[in-house]
Amino acid sequence: MEEKVIICNDLTKQFGDFYAVNKISFDVYKGEVFGFLGANGAGKTTAMRILCGLSYPTSGKASVAGFDVYKQQESIKKNIGYMSQKFSLYENLTVSENIEFFGGIYGVERSEISMRRTDLIERLGLEKEVNKMVGELPLGWKQKLAFSVAIFHQPRIVFLDEPTGGVDPVTRRQFWDMIYEAAAGGITVFVTTHYMDEAEYCNRISIMVDGRIEALDTPENLKKNYSASSMDEVFYQLARGAKRSDN
């Protein structure tokens, strides 16, 4: 039996009489690349905030890395990594300082930080940039560094919120290489994206519409079940009936 690292049962978040997340249930397995898709305003961000231990659900159950989303938020935060297109690293700290800062925040030992840092810098080929401000790096490098920093403390799960927006295709593919590598090493990857072709990189995909999960399967099965030639078509069939949009 595969190990479950995220378990969600009827998870619900209500704001007044508005159901941002409406009874969603799903499991994510260890080492899986799980795509979490939905139109703008479908409730993805709200659900993700709960799973990251940043917001309490109204009802339902969920656990992340074995910790309860109601009672063990702090333990959840220690066992996950997070990266988004908008917030990743401090632009006016150097590459080295960012690694040190985030390593420290996540409680990695000082001696361990300097060992892993040397290794990371070498793997990314950033030897010459180590004392440069992150703000001076090209976007693609920033994103690769941000991902490496997000898994620097070797979390059980890493949450990626639209990690590849705007990056060039070559970098995007290198980025996915890094994701696969992390997953092969046992880190579960939970990712949102607007690129439907990118959704096909995931082992399984869920699609949220108006607060509910309307479909959850492998990309191959989803295409088969919706008689679609691409994920774009599957998404369109499901999401075009959506009543909600973002603010």
Binding site: V167, Y180, E181, P219, R240, S245, N247
Partner: protein, 309 residues
Amino acid sequence: MDAVSLKNIHKTYDKGNVIAVDDVSFDVKKGELFGLIGPDGAGKTSIFRILTTVLLADKGSASVAGFDVVKEYRAIRNRVGYMPGKFSLYQDLTIKENLEFFATVFDTSIEENYDLIKNIYDQISPFNDRRAGKLSGGMKQKLALCCALIHKPEVLLLDEPTTGVDAVSRKEFWDMLKDLKQQGITILVSTPYMDEANLCERIALIQNGKILSVETPENIVKAFPVTLYAAKSDNNYKLLTDFRNFDAVASAYASGEYMRIIVKDEHPDSITLLKDYAEKFGNRNVEIKIIAPTIEDNFIWLSQKEANH
């Protein structure tokens, strides 16, 4: 006469240290739907700002609707509709107020060119009294397009109108552009989404300020010089790693359900060769086939060729 024409345009920032636009030339024909496709930092926005006469190029010349961007900038400003990448309408004005404001600035009225915006405006007019700042992303985008069209421009310049917008709104937006094209408006649109390239009549691929290619989407795909193989197995990451260690493989990269493989020497039995190799290394349920390249595959090919130049 071309609706938009750029000749050897150069633009640098930071006293010449940052090259944003590097000797760019292309033409957009009258009535054409033309896409400028490239990642962030490729130089797309600088090009738009030069064409809308709000930024001066260092070198080169450009014209829009037949007028020179430097000498005849006033004539251009009355003839183009511009939607910048960043939402730039007045957040504190309502939908209707924004539209009226832009109509007045161009010395026209909502009624005068109503036909042009009707299909788009109908979708947002039920919220006429809502402030622009309170609209959803999709609605903001529609309002911005209405405002860019209100003076019936000859040329529409749209800088990344679909970035960050979900797949459904993106599809609707492209449908609107097709309608506008039918009405004779020339459209130059930029996007970082390679899949949107297929919706344009012609595209320019751009990276690091340089144009990689200007062609129809079909011809760009046709110009792909080698056979592209697609492969998958029970464990794609292992398969990818194994192929990268294979002498006969020139490059292997992840690409959704099927990874892409390019071999060093074309061979009629390449599929068998790849499959045998993969199975020898313990990969299960290996599937290998020839696949048609996409715009993205071409973009990668061209940008790597440019880098090795």
